[in-house]
Protein backbone atom coordinates (compact mmCIF):
# COMPACT_ATOMS: atom_id res chain seq x y z
CA UNK A 1 0.00 0.00 0.00
CA UNK A 2 1.36 3.44 -0.90
CA UNK A 3 2.29 5.84 1.84
CA UNK A 4 0.16 8.90 2.48
CA UNK A 5 1.49 12.18 1.10
CA UNK A 6 0.18 14.02 4.15
CA UNK A 7 0.22 12.29 7.48
CA UNK A 8 -0.85 14.02 10.64
CA UNK A 9 -0.01 12.28 13.89
CA UNK A 10 -1.55 13.09 17.26
CA UNK A 11 -1.62 16.80 16.53
CA UNK A 12 -2.65 19.05 19.39
CA UNK A 13 -2.96 22.82 19.20
CA UNK A 14 -3.96 25.37 21.80
CA UNK A 15 -4.42 29.06 21.15
CA UNK A 16 -4.85 31.70 23.84
CA UNK A 17 -5.21 28.88 26.34
CA UNK A 18 -8.07 27.23 24.46
CA UNK A 19 -7.92 23.72 23.02
CA UNK A 20 -8.33 23.98 19.25
CA UNK A 21 -7.08 20.64 17.95
CA UNK A 22 -6.90 17.54 20.08
CA UNK A 23 -4.89 14.46 19.09
CA UNK A 24 -5.74 14.79 15.41
CA UNK A 25 -4.72 11.93 13.11
CA UNK A 26 -5.29 12.23 9.38
CA UNK A 27 -3.87 10.73 6.19
CA UNK A 28 -4.28 12.13 2.68
CA UNK A 29 -2.95 10.40 -0.43
CA UNK A 30 -1.79 11.70 -3.81
CA UNK A 31 -4.59 11.73 -6.35
CA UNK A 32 -7.19 11.66 -3.59
CA UNK A 33 -9.83 14.16 -2.55
CA UNK A 34 -10.13 13.89 1.22
CA UNK A 35 -13.02 15.87 2.65
CA UNK A 36 -12.78 17.25 6.17
CA UNK A 37 -16.30 17.88 7.36
CA UNK A 38 -17.24 19.81 10.45
CA UNK A 39 -19.39 22.56 11.81
CA UNK A 40 -18.27 26.15 12.22
CA UNK A 41 -15.69 26.43 14.97
CA UNK A 42 -14.80 22.73 14.93
CA UNK A 43 -11.12 23.33 14.08
CA UNK A 44 -11.11 22.77 10.29
CA UNK A 45 -9.45 26.02 9.31
CA UNK A 46 -7.06 25.83 12.25
CA UNK A 47 -5.90 22.46 10.97
CA UNK A 48 -5.38 23.98 7.52
CA UNK A 49 -3.33 26.87 8.93
CA UNK A 50 -1.28 24.45 11.02
CA UNK A 51 -0.43 22.32 7.99
CA UNK A 52 0.51 25.44 6.03
CA UNK A 53 2.62 26.76 8.93
CA UNK A 54 0.76 30.02 9.42
CA UNK A 55 1.73 32.49 12.13
CA UNK A 56 0.41 31.42 15.53
CA UNK A 57 -0.35 27.85 14.48
CA UNK A 58 2.61 25.91 15.88
CA UNK A 59 1.40 22.60 17.30
CA UNK A 60 1.80 21.93 20.99
CA UNK A 61 2.45 18.29 20.23
CA UNK A 62 2.21 15.80 17.40
CA UNK A 63 3.65 15.86 13.90
CA UNK A 64 2.74 16.89 10.38
CA UNK A 65 4.56 14.71 7.85
CA UNK A 66 4.67 15.53 4.15
CA UNK A 67 6.03 12.81 1.93
CA UNK A 68 7.59 11.39 5.06
CA UNK A 69 9.26 14.65 6.07
CA UNK A 70 8.42 16.36 9.35
CA UNK A 71 7.35 19.92 8.53
CA UNK A 72 8.19 21.25 12.00
CA UNK A 73 10.24 24.43 11.78
CA UNK A 74 9.60 24.99 8.07
CA UNK A 75 8.29 28.37 6.99
CA UNK A 76 5.20 28.85 4.84
CA UNK A 77 7.47 29.55 1.86
CA UNK A 78 9.44 26.35 2.42
CA UNK A 79 6.25 24.33 2.69
CA UNK A 80 4.89 25.95 -0.47
CA UNK A 81 8.09 25.11 -2.29
CA UNK A 82 7.65 21.48 -1.24
CA UNK A 83 4.32 21.62 -3.07
CA UNK A 84 1.81 22.53 -0.35
CA UNK A 85 -0.60 25.40 -0.78
CA UNK A 86 -3.80 26.72 0.71
CA UNK A 87 -6.87 28.39 -0.72
CA UNK A 88 -8.15 30.62 2.06
CA UNK A 89 -11.81 30.56 3.02
CA UNK A 90 -11.91 34.35 2.79
CA UNK A 91 -9.03 35.23 0.49
CA UNK A 92 -7.06 38.42 1.01
CA UNK A 93 -7.60 41.35 -1.33
CA UNK A 94 -4.67 42.90 -3.12
CA UNK A 95 -4.66 46.49 -4.35
CA UNK A 96 -2.98 46.87 -7.69
CA UNK A 97 -2.18 43.20 -8.33
CA UNK A 98 -3.91 42.02 -11.49
CA UNK A 99 -5.83 38.76 -11.29
CA UNK A 100 -3.72 37.25 -14.08
CA UNK A 101 -0.53 37.97 -12.19
CA UNK A 102 -1.93 36.65 -8.93
CA UNK A 103 -3.01 33.41 -10.55
CA UNK A 104 0.46 32.91 -12.03
CA UNK A 105 2.39 33.55 -8.81
CA UNK A 106 2.82 29.91 -7.87
CA UNK A 107 3.97 28.77 -11.30
CA UNK A 108 7.67 27.96 -11.68
CA UNK A 109 7.60 30.17 -14.79
CA UNK A 110 4.74 32.56 -15.58
CA UNK A 111 2.73 30.94 -18.35
CA UNK A 112 -0.06 32.88 -20.00
CA UNK A 113 -1.81 29.85 -21.45
CA UNK A 114 -1.78 28.10 -18.08
CA UNK A 115 -3.14 31.23 -16.42
CA UNK A 116 -5.95 31.50 -18.95
CA UNK A 117 -6.78 27.80 -18.52
CA UNK A 118 -6.83 28.14 -14.73
CA UNK A 119 -9.22 31.10 -14.87
CA UNK A 120 -11.50 29.34 -17.33
CA UNK A 121 -11.53 26.29 -15.06
CA UNK A 122 -13.32 28.42 -12.49
CA UNK A 123 -15.59 30.02 -15.10
CA UNK A 124 -13.81 33.38 -15.13
CA UNK A 125 -13.03 34.58 -18.67
CA UNK A 126 -9.39 35.68 -18.77
CA UNK A 127 -10.19 38.54 -21.15
CA UNK A 128 -12.47 40.09 -18.58
CA UNK A 129 -10.72 39.17 -15.36
CA UNK A 130 -7.03 38.86 -16.24
CA UNK A 131 -6.28 42.56 -15.96
CA UNK A 132 -8.69 43.37 -13.14
CA UNK A 133 -7.15 43.89 -9.72
CA UNK A 134 -7.59 41.12 -7.16
CA UNK A 135 -8.99 43.72 -4.78
CA UNK A 136 -12.28 44.69 -3.17
CA UNK A 137 -13.86 45.39 -6.55
CA UNK A 138 -14.26 41.63 -7.02
CA UNK A 139 -17.28 40.07 -5.37
CA UNK A 140 -16.71 37.48 -2.67
CA UNK A 141 -17.54 34.67 -5.06
CA UNK A 142 -15.26 36.02 -7.80
CA UNK A 143 -12.37 36.38 -5.36
CA UNK A 144 -12.91 32.79 -4.16
CA UNK A 145 -12.77 31.54 -7.72
CA UNK A 146 -9.58 33.50 -8.38
CA UNK A 147 -8.07 31.87 -5.30
CA UNK A 148 -8.95 28.41 -6.56
CA UNK A 149 -7.57 29.24 -10.00
CA UNK A 150 -4.29 30.32 -8.38
CA UNK A 151 -4.07 27.06 -6.47
CA UNK A 152 -4.86 25.03 -9.58
CA UNK A 153 -2.32 26.95 -11.69
CA UNK A 154 0.36 26.12 -9.14
CA UNK A 155 -0.15 22.38 -9.72
CA UNK A 156 0.56 21.68 -6.03
CA UNK A 157 1.28 18.25 -4.61
CA UNK A 158 -1.11 19.04 -1.77
CA UNK A 159 -3.94 21.56 -2.16
CA UNK A 160 -5.77 22.55 1.00
CA UNK A 161 -9.08 24.08 0.00
CA UNK A 162 -10.78 25.83 2.91
CA UNK A 163 -14.50 25.89 2.20
CA UNK A 164 -14.14 26.44 -1.56
CA UNK A 165 -17.91 26.25 -1.93
CA UNK A 166 -18.84 29.06 0.45
CA UNK A 167 -20.01 32.21 -1.31
CA UNK A 168 -20.11 30.46 -4.68
CA UNK A 169 -23.31 30.51 -6.70
CA UNK A 170 -24.94 27.21 -7.62
CA UNK A 171 -23.91 27.22 -11.28
CA UNK A 172 -20.29 27.96 -10.48
CA UNK A 173 -20.33 25.29 -7.80
CA UNK A 174 -20.53 22.64 -10.52
CA UNK A 175 -17.36 24.07 -12.08
CA UNK A 176 -15.64 24.12 -8.71
CA UNK A 177 -16.48 20.48 -8.07
CA UNK A 178 -15.13 19.57 -11.52
CA UNK A 179 -11.96 21.50 -10.77
CA UNK A 180 -11.45 19.68 -7.49
CA UNK A 181 -11.77 16.33 -9.29
CA UNK A 182 -9.44 17.53 -12.04
CA UNK A 183 -6.79 18.46 -9.48
CA UNK A 184 -6.94 14.97 -8.01
CA UNK A 185 -6.92 13.52 -11.51
CA UNK A 186 -3.71 15.44 -12.18
CA UNK A 187 -2.17 13.72 -9.16
CA UNK A 188 -2.60 16.36 -6.47
CA UNK A 189 -3.74 15.39 -3.02
CA UNK A 190 -6.70 17.58 -2.09
CA UNK A 191 -7.75 18.26 1.48
CA UNK A 192 -11.25 19.61 0.98
CA UNK A 193 -12.53 21.48 4.02
CA UNK A 194 -16.26 22.00 4.17
CA UNK A 195 -19.30 22.11 6.40
CA UNK A 196 -21.65 21.06 3.60
CA UNK A 197 -22.45 17.38 3.47
CA UNK A 198 -23.31 17.65 -0.24
CA UNK A 199 -19.67 18.22 -1.12
CA UNK A 200 -18.79 14.76 0.16
CA UNK A 201 -19.96 13.44 -3.21
CA UNK A 202 -16.78 14.95 -4.65
CA UNK A 203 -14.54 13.13 -2.18
CA UNK A 204 -12.78 9.77 -2.20
CA UNK A 205 -12.41 9.77 1.57
CA UNK A 206 -13.72 11.83 4.40
CA UNK A 207 -13.07 12.70 8.01
CA UNK A 208 -15.35 14.30 10.52
CA UNK A 209 -14.01 16.85 12.94
CA UNK A 210 -15.89 18.07 15.96
CA UNK A 211 -14.51 20.17 18.78
CA UNK A 212 -11.00 19.78 17.41
CA UNK A 213 -11.16 16.01 17.30
CA UNK A 214 -11.39 13.64 14.36
CA UNK A 215 -14.41 11.49 15.14
CA UNK A 216 -14.49 9.42 12.01
CA UNK A 217 -12.34 8.73 8.95
CA UNK A 218 -13.34 6.55 6.07
CA UNK A 219 -15.87 6.29 3.28
CA UNK A 220 -17.57 9.62 2.45
CA UNK A 221 -21.04 8.08 2.47
CA UNK A 222 -20.53 6.60 5.92
CA UNK A 223 -19.09 9.93 7.05
CA UNK A 224 -22.26 11.63 5.92
CA UNK A 225 -24.44 9.23 7.89
CA UNK A 226 -22.22 9.60 10.92
CA UNK A 227 -22.37 13.39 10.62
CA UNK A 228 -26.16 13.39 10.42
CA UNK A 229 -26.55 11.02 13.34
CA UNK A 230 -23.91 12.31 15.74
CA UNK A 231 -23.07 15.90 14.90
CA UNK A 232 -26.36 17.43 13.91
CA UNK A 233 -27.99 16.71 17.32
CA UNK A 234 -25.27 18.85 18.90
CA UNK A 235 -25.57 21.62 16.34
CA UNK A 236 -26.50 24.28 18.83
CA UNK A 237 -23.47 23.84 21.06
CA UNK A 238 -21.03 22.91 18.32
CA UNK A 239 -22.00 25.87 16.23
CA UNK A 240 -20.70 28.24 18.89
CA UNK A 241 -17.81 30.40 17.71
CA UNK A 242 -15.20 30.08 18.93
CA UNK A 243 -15.62 26.59 20.31
CA UNK A 244 -15.58 26.64 24.07
CA UNK A 245 -15.12 23.17 25.48
CA UNK A 246 -15.81 24.48 28.97
CA UNK A 247 -19.26 25.90 28.18
CA UNK A 248 -22.31 24.16 29.72
CA UNK A 249 -23.56 23.27 26.23
CA UNK A 250 -20.26 21.71 25.26
CA UNK A 251 -20.02 19.82 28.54
CA UNK A 252 -23.45 18.39 27.88
CA UNK A 253 -22.40 17.31 24.41
CA UNK A 254 -19.09 15.70 25.43
CA UNK A 255 -18.56 12.45 27.30
CA UNK A 256 -15.96 11.88 30.03
CA UNK A 257 -13.23 11.29 27.40
CA UNK A 258 -13.89 14.61 25.75
CA UNK A 259 -15.62 12.95 22.79
CA UNK A 260 -19.07 13.77 21.54
CA UNK A 261 -21.81 11.80 23.18
CA UNK A 262 -23.11 9.38 20.60
CA UNK A 263 -26.80 9.04 19.87
CA UNK A 264 -25.88 5.97 17.73
CA UNK A 265 -23.84 2.92 18.56
CA UNK A 266 -21.34 0.84 16.62
CA UNK A 267 -19.02 3.66 15.58
CA UNK A 268 -15.64 4.23 17.14
CA UNK A 269 -14.43 7.76 17.07
CA UNK A 270 -10.86 8.14 15.90
CA UNK A 271 -8.20 10.17 17.68
Amino acid sequence: MKAPLLQIEALTLRRDGRPILNQVNLSVYSGQVHALLGLNGSGKSSLAYTIMGCDGYIPDSGRVLFDGRDLAGLSITERARLGITLAWQEPARFEGIPVGRYVGLGMPQPDREQTVAALEAVALPAKIYGSRAADQTLSGGERKRVELAAVYAMRPRLAILDEPDSGIDVLSLVEIEKLIRRMAGDGSAVLLITHREELLATADAASLICAGQILFSGDPQEARQYYSARCRPHLKSLGAQPWDATSPEAQAALDSNGSLRSPVSGQTPEG
Binding site: T77, A80, T85, W88, A92, E95, G96, G106, A150
Partner: protein
Protein backbone atom coordinates in the same frame (compact mmCIF):
# COMPACT_ATOMS: atom_id res chain seq x y z
CA UNK B 1 2.44 82.97 -25.26
CA UNK B 2 5.94 83.87 -24.15
CA UNK B 3 8.16 81.01 -25.13
CA UNK B 4 11.12 80.04 -27.25
CA UNK B 5 9.42 77.32 -29.26
CA UNK B 6 5.93 76.21 -29.98
CA UNK B 7 6.85 72.57 -30.70
CA UNK B 8 9.31 70.21 -29.07
CA UNK B 9 10.77 69.32 -32.44
CA UNK B 10 14.49 68.62 -32.43
CA UNK B 11 15.15 66.47 -35.49
CA UNK B 12 17.16 68.07 -38.26
CA UNK B 13 18.23 71.20 -36.37
CA UNK B 14 20.58 71.95 -33.55
CA UNK B 15 19.64 75.22 -31.90
CA UNK B 16 21.01 75.98 -28.47
CA UNK B 17 18.06 74.50 -26.67
CA UNK B 18 18.04 71.19 -28.61
CA UNK B 19 20.40 69.37 -26.26
CA UNK B 20 18.36 70.49 -23.27
CA UNK B 21 15.20 69.35 -24.97
CA UNK B 22 16.65 65.93 -25.76
CA UNK B 23 17.70 65.56 -22.13
CA UNK B 24 14.22 66.58 -20.99
CA UNK B 25 12.62 64.03 -23.29
CA UNK B 26 14.83 61.33 -21.78
CA UNK B 27 13.90 62.56 -18.32
CA UNK B 28 10.25 62.63 -19.31
CA UNK B 29 10.45 58.99 -20.33
CA UNK B 30 12.17 58.07 -17.05
CA UNK B 31 9.28 59.68 -15.21
CA UNK B 32 6.88 57.42 -17.07
CA UNK B 33 5.89 59.76 -19.89
CA UNK B 34 5.72 58.93 -23.57
CA UNK B 35 8.01 61.29 -25.56
CA UNK B 36 6.12 60.45 -28.74
CA UNK B 37 3.03 62.09 -27.29
CA UNK B 38 4.93 65.37 -27.06
CA UNK B 39 5.37 65.34 -30.84
CA UNK B 40 1.73 64.97 -31.75
CA UNK B 41 0.13 68.12 -33.20
CA UNK B 42 -3.19 67.42 -31.53
CA UNK B 43 -1.61 67.24 -28.07
CA UNK B 44 -1.12 70.40 -26.04
CA UNK B 45 2.35 70.42 -24.51
CA UNK B 46 4.31 72.52 -22.07
CA UNK B 47 7.96 71.64 -21.38
CA UNK B 48 9.93 73.55 -18.75
CA UNK B 49 13.54 72.81 -17.86
CA UNK B 50 14.91 74.84 -14.99
CA UNK B 51 13.85 78.40 -15.80
CA UNK B 52 13.56 77.75 -19.55
CA UNK B 53 10.33 77.12 -21.40
CA UNK B 54 11.52 74.69 -24.06
CA UNK B 55 8.16 74.12 -25.69
CA UNK B 56 4.63 75.37 -25.37
CA UNK B 57 2.29 73.95 -27.95
CA UNK B 58 -1.29 75.15 -27.82
CA UNK B 59 -4.29 73.52 -29.37
CA UNK B 60 -7.79 74.93 -29.79
CA UNK B 61 -9.27 75.40 -26.34
CA UNK B 62 -5.93 75.23 -24.46
CA UNK B 63 -3.67 78.25 -24.03
CA UNK B 64 -0.37 78.79 -22.26
CA UNK B 65 1.31 81.93 -21.04
CA UNK B 66 4.75 81.56 -19.57
CA UNK B 67 7.48 83.90 -18.41
CA UNK B 68 10.82 83.09 -16.86
CA UNK B 69 11.63 83.96 -13.26
CA UNK B 70 15.07 84.10 -11.71
CA UNK B 71 14.82 80.46 -10.64
CA UNK B 72 11.84 79.16 -12.51
CA UNK B 73 8.80 80.00 -14.55
CA UNK B 74 5.46 81.65 -14.01
CA UNK B 75 2.86 79.89 -16.13
CA UNK B 76 -0.80 80.46 -16.80
CA UNK B 77 -2.73 77.58 -18.30
CA UNK B 78 -6.21 78.28 -19.57
CA UNK B 79 -8.82 75.86 -20.82
CA UNK B 80 -11.69 77.65 -22.50
CA UNK B 81 -15.26 77.31 -21.19
CA UNK B 82 -17.11 74.28 -22.58
CA UNK B 83 -13.94 73.02 -24.29
CA UNK B 84 -13.78 69.24 -24.63
CA UNK B 85 -10.11 68.36 -24.86
CA UNK B 86 -9.86 64.85 -26.25
CA UNK B 87 -6.16 64.13 -25.64
CA UNK B 88 -4.48 64.76 -22.30
CA UNK B 89 -2.49 67.95 -22.00
CA UNK B 90 1.15 66.96 -21.40
CA UNK B 91 3.23 68.92 -18.93
CA UNK B 92 6.89 68.21 -18.41
CA UNK B 93 8.89 69.88 -15.64
CA UNK B 94 12.42 69.09 -14.63
CA UNK B 95 15.95 69.96 -13.81
CA UNK B 96 18.66 68.06 -15.68
CA UNK B 97 21.85 69.12 -13.83
CA UNK B 98 22.83 67.57 -10.50
CA UNK B 99 22.23 70.87 -8.71
CA UNK B 100 19.65 73.54 -9.24
CA UNK B 101 16.50 75.22 -8.16
CA UNK B 102 13.20 75.37 -9.98
CA UNK B 103 10.18 77.35 -8.86
CA UNK B 104 6.99 77.00 -10.84
CA UNK B 105 4.20 79.46 -10.15
CA UNK B 106 1.28 77.99 -12.00
CA UNK B 107 -2.20 79.33 -12.50
CA UNK B 108 -4.70 76.88 -13.94
CA UNK B 109 -8.01 78.25 -15.12
CA UNK B 110 -10.46 75.61 -16.23
CA UNK B 111 -13.47 77.31 -17.76
CA UNK B 112 -17.05 76.41 -16.84
CA UNK B 113 -18.21 73.22 -18.49
CA UNK B 114 -14.76 72.30 -19.82
CA UNK B 115 -13.42 68.76 -19.69
CA UNK B 116 -9.69 68.17 -19.64
CA UNK B 117 -7.00 65.84 -18.40
CA UNK B 118 -3.45 66.84 -17.56
CA UNK B 119 -0.52 64.43 -17.47
CA UNK B 120 2.33 66.06 -15.62
CA UNK B 121 5.73 64.40 -15.40
CA UNK B 122 8.39 65.88 -13.18
CA UNK B 123 11.86 64.48 -13.60
CA UNK B 124 15.10 65.17 -11.79
CA UNK B 125 17.15 62.20 -13.01
CA UNK B 126 20.61 63.40 -11.93
CA UNK B 127 19.64 65.32 -8.83
CA UNK B 128 22.17 65.48 -6.05
CA UNK B 129 20.94 68.80 -4.71
CA UNK B 130 17.85 70.05 -6.49
CA UNK B 131 14.96 72.05 -5.10
CA UNK B 132 11.65 72.04 -6.94
CA UNK B 133 8.70 74.07 -5.77
CA UNK B 134 5.30 74.11 -7.42
CA UNK B 135 2.97 76.75 -6.14
CA UNK B 136 -0.27 76.23 -8.03
CA UNK B 137 -3.60 77.93 -8.02
CA UNK B 138 -6.24 75.81 -9.68
CA UNK B 139 -9.74 77.00 -10.45
CA UNK B 140 -12.18 74.46 -11.82
CA UNK B 141 -15.19 76.35 -13.14
CA UNK B 142 -18.80 75.36 -12.63
CA UNK B 143 -19.64 72.01 -14.18
CA UNK B 144 -16.08 71.50 -15.42
CA UNK B 145 -14.00 68.37 -15.03
CA UNK B 146 -10.24 68.35 -14.42
CA UNK B 147 -8.20 65.18 -14.02
CA UNK B 148 -4.63 65.96 -13.04
CA UNK B 149 -2.14 63.09 -12.92
CA UNK B 150 1.36 63.90 -11.73
CA UNK B 151 4.24 61.42 -11.77
CA UNK B 152 7.70 62.10 -10.45
CA UNK B 153 11.10 60.56 -11.05
CA UNK B 154 13.88 61.73 -8.79
CA UNK B 155 16.82 59.54 -9.77
CA UNK B 156 18.84 57.31 -7.47
CA UNK B 157 20.59 59.85 -5.23
CA UNK B 158 17.79 61.12 -3.03
CA UNK B 159 18.98 64.68 -3.45
CA UNK B 160 15.68 66.28 -4.39
CA UNK B 161 13.61 68.56 -2.24
CA UNK B 162 10.15 68.73 -3.81
CA UNK B 163 7.25 70.87 -2.63
CA UNK B 164 4.08 70.55 -4.67
CA UNK B 165 1.65 72.99 -3.10
CA UNK B 166 -1.75 73.85 -4.51
CA UNK B 167 -4.79 75.91 -3.64
CA UNK B 168 -7.76 74.50 -5.49
CA UNK B 169 -11.25 75.90 -5.89
CA UNK B 170 -13.88 73.52 -7.24
CA UNK B 171 -16.99 75.39 -8.30
CA UNK B 172 -20.57 74.10 -8.23
CA UNK B 173 -21.03 70.80 -10.01
CA UNK B 174 -17.37 70.63 -10.98
CA UNK B 175 -15.05 67.66 -10.60
CA UNK B 176 -11.38 67.66 -9.62
CA UNK B 177 -9.52 64.34 -9.61
CA UNK B 178 -5.81 64.29 -8.94
CA UNK B 179 -3.22 61.54 -8.54
CA UNK B 180 0.30 62.23 -7.34
CA UNK B 181 2.86 59.40 -7.63
CA UNK B 182 6.45 59.28 -6.53
CA UNK B 183 7.23 55.60 -6.56
CA UNK B 184 10.31 55.28 -8.73
CA UNK B 185 13.81 56.21 -7.74
CA UNK B 186 14.48 57.91 -4.43
CA UNK B 187 12.09 60.45 -2.95
CA UNK B 188 14.55 62.71 -1.18
CA UNK B 189 12.32 65.16 0.65
CA UNK B 190 8.71 65.52 -0.40
CA UNK B 191 6.27 68.03 1.01
CA UNK B 192 2.82 67.84 -0.55
CA UNK B 193 0.33 70.47 0.56
CA UNK B 194 -3.06 70.63 -1.14
CA UNK B 195 -5.94 72.78 0.08
CA UNK B 196 -9.22 72.35 -1.69
CA UNK B 197 -12.56 74.12 -1.39
CA UNK B 198 -15.52 72.36 -2.93
CA UNK B 199 -18.78 74.12 -3.75
CA UNK B 200 -22.31 72.75 -4.09
CA UNK B 201 -22.46 69.38 -5.87
CA UNK B 202 -18.73 69.51 -6.56
CA UNK B 203 -16.35 66.56 -6.25
CA UNK B 204 -12.71 66.39 -5.18
CA UNK B 205 -10.76 63.13 -5.25
CA UNK B 206 -7.11 63.06 -4.25
CA UNK B 207 -4.80 60.06 -4.50
CA UNK B 208 -1.24 60.30 -3.26
CA UNK B 209 1.30 57.50 -3.61
CA UNK B 210 4.91 57.53 -2.47
CA UNK B 211 7.60 54.97 -1.66
CA UNK B 212 10.36 56.18 0.59
CA UNK B 213 13.68 54.44 1.13
CA UNK B 214 17.03 55.32 2.68
CA UNK B 215 16.77 58.61 4.52
CA UNK B 216 13.80 59.90 2.51
CA UNK B 217 11.31 62.23 4.16
CA UNK B 218 7.68 62.27 3.03
CA UNK B 219 5.15 64.78 4.27
CA UNK B 220 1.65 64.81 2.85
CA UNK B 221 -0.85 67.42 3.96
CA UNK B 222 -4.26 67.47 2.35
CA UNK B 223 -7.14 69.65 3.39
CA UNK B 224 -10.54 69.30 1.77
CA UNK B 225 -13.34 71.65 2.74
CA UNK B 226 -16.76 70.53 1.56
CA UNK B 227 -18.44 73.90 1.67
CA UNK B 228 -21.41 73.41 -0.63
CA UNK B 229 -24.49 71.26 -0.32
CA UNK B 230 -23.91 67.67 -1.52
CA UNK B 231 -20.23 68.31 -2.07
CA UNK B 232 -18.13 65.13 -2.16
CA UNK B 233 -14.56 64.54 -1.09
CA UNK B 234 -12.24 61.53 -1.07
CA UNK B 235 -8.58 61.26 -0.14
CA UNK B 236 -6.62 58.07 -0.72
CA UNK B 237 -3.10 58.05 0.64
CA UNK B 238 -0.75 55.13 -0.03
CA UNK B 239 2.71 55.43 1.39
CA UNK B 240 5.38 52.80 1.98
CA UNK B 241 8.60 53.49 3.86
CA UNK B 242 11.57 51.30 4.57
CA UNK B 243 15.17 51.62 5.79
CA UNK B 244 15.22 54.88 7.79
CA UNK B 245 12.63 56.77 5.78
CA UNK B 246 9.91 58.75 7.55
CA UNK B 247 6.40 59.52 6.37
CA UNK B 248 3.98 61.99 7.90
CA UNK B 249 0.44 62.15 6.61
CA UNK B 250 -1.99 64.85 7.71
CA UNK B 251 -5.38 64.69 6.09
CA UNK B 252 -8.23 66.95 6.98
CA UNK B 253 -11.79 66.85 5.71
CA UNK B 254 -14.50 69.30 6.64
CA UNK B 255 -18.20 68.70 6.14
CA UNK B 256 -19.58 72.24 6.18
CA UNK B 257 -22.91 71.94 4.39
CA UNK B 258 -26.02 69.75 4.26
CA UNK B 259 -25.50 66.48 2.39
CA UNK B 260 -21.75 66.87 2.18
CA UNK B 261 -19.98 63.50 2.21
CA UNK B 262 -16.29 62.93 2.73
CA UNK B 263 -14.02 59.96 3.25
CA UNK B 264 -10.33 59.67 4.02
CA UNK B 265 -8.51 56.40 3.42
CA UNK B 266 -4.88 56.06 4.42
CA UNK B 267 -2.55 53.07 4.26
CA UNK B 268 1.08 53.35 5.28
CA UNK B 269 3.36 50.31 5.27
CA UNK B 270 6.45 50.38 7.44
CA UNK B 271 9.56 48.21 7.07
CA UNK B 272 12.88 48.13 8.84
CA UNK B 273 13.72 51.22 10.88
CA UNK B 274 11.29 53.43 8.99
CA UNK B 275 8.57 55.45 10.71
CA UNK B 276 5.06 56.37 9.68
CA UNK B 277 2.82 58.97 11.21
CA UNK B 278 -0.83 59.63 10.42
CA UNK B 279 -3.03 62.41 11.76
CA UNK B 280 -6.51 62.55 10.34
CA UNK B 281 -8.68 65.48 11.22
CA UNK B 282 -12.42 65.32 10.75
CA UNK B 283 -14.52 68.45 11.16
CA UNK B 284 -18.27 68.52 10.65
CA UNK B 285 -20.16 71.78 10.95
CA UNK B 286 -23.54 70.68 9.67
CA UNK B 287 -25.75 67.99 11.17
CA UNK B 288 -26.57 66.63 7.72
CA UNK B 289 -22.96 66.21 6.66
CA UNK B 290 -20.85 63.11 7.18
CA UNK B 291 -17.12 62.46 7.02
CA UNK B 292 -15.54 59.06 7.59
CA UNK B 293 -11.98 57.92 7.99
CA UNK B 294 -10.06 54.66 7.82
CA UNK B 295 -6.37 54.05 8.26
CA UNK B 296 -4.00 51.11 8.41
CA UNK B 297 -0.51 52.01 9.51
CA UNK B 298 2.28 49.53 10.10
CA UNK B 299 3.30 46.13 8.92
CA UNK B 300 2.04 44.45 5.81
CA UNK B 301 -1.29 42.76 6.41
CA UNK B 302 -0.47 39.30 7.71
CA UNK B 303 -3.15 37.52 5.72
CA UNK B 304 -2.04 39.15 2.48
CA UNK B 305 1.53 38.19 3.24
CA UNK B 306 0.74 34.57 4.08
CA UNK B 307 -1.38 34.23 0.96
CA UNK B 308 1.63 35.11 -1.17
CA UNK B 309 4.03 32.99 0.90
CA UNK B 310 1.73 30.03 0.29
CA UNK B 311 2.46 30.44 -3.43
CA UNK B 312 6.16 30.03 -2.77
CA UNK B 313 7.29 33.67 -2.64
CA UNK B 314 9.78 34.52 0.07
CA UNK B 315 8.95 37.29 2.52
CA UNK B 316 10.91 40.04 0.74
CA UNK B 317 9.34 39.17 -2.61
CA UNK B 318 5.87 39.09 -1.09
CA UNK B 319 6.23 42.41 0.74
CA UNK B 320 7.64 44.07 -2.37
CA UNK B 321 4.75 42.77 -4.45
CA UNK B 322 2.19 44.06 -1.94
CA UNK B 323 3.84 47.48 -1.75
CA UNK B 324 4.26 47.78 -5.51
CA UNK B 325 0.62 46.85 -5.95
CA UNK B 326 -0.50 49.38 -3.35
CA UNK B 327 1.35 52.28 -4.92
CA UNK B 328 0.77 51.21 -8.50
Amino acid sequence: MTTAQSRPHIAGQQPAWAGEMAAMLDAYQQAGGDPQALQLPEVATLVISGEQVLAAHEIPGVHFEAEPLEHGVRARIVVEPEARIERPVHLCFGVIPAEGRQEILADYEIGPGAQVQFLAHCSFPNAVRVEHTMQARIHVGAGASLTYTEEHFHGPHGGVDVRPHAEVVVDAGARFVTTFSLTRGRVGALDVDYRIDVAEGGVAELTTKAYGTGEDRIRVKETVRLNGERARGLTRTRVAVRDSAVSQVYTSMEGNAPGARGHMDCTEIVRGQAQAHNEPLVVVRDDQAQVTHEAAIGAVNRKELESLLARGLDEDEAVDLIIRGMIR
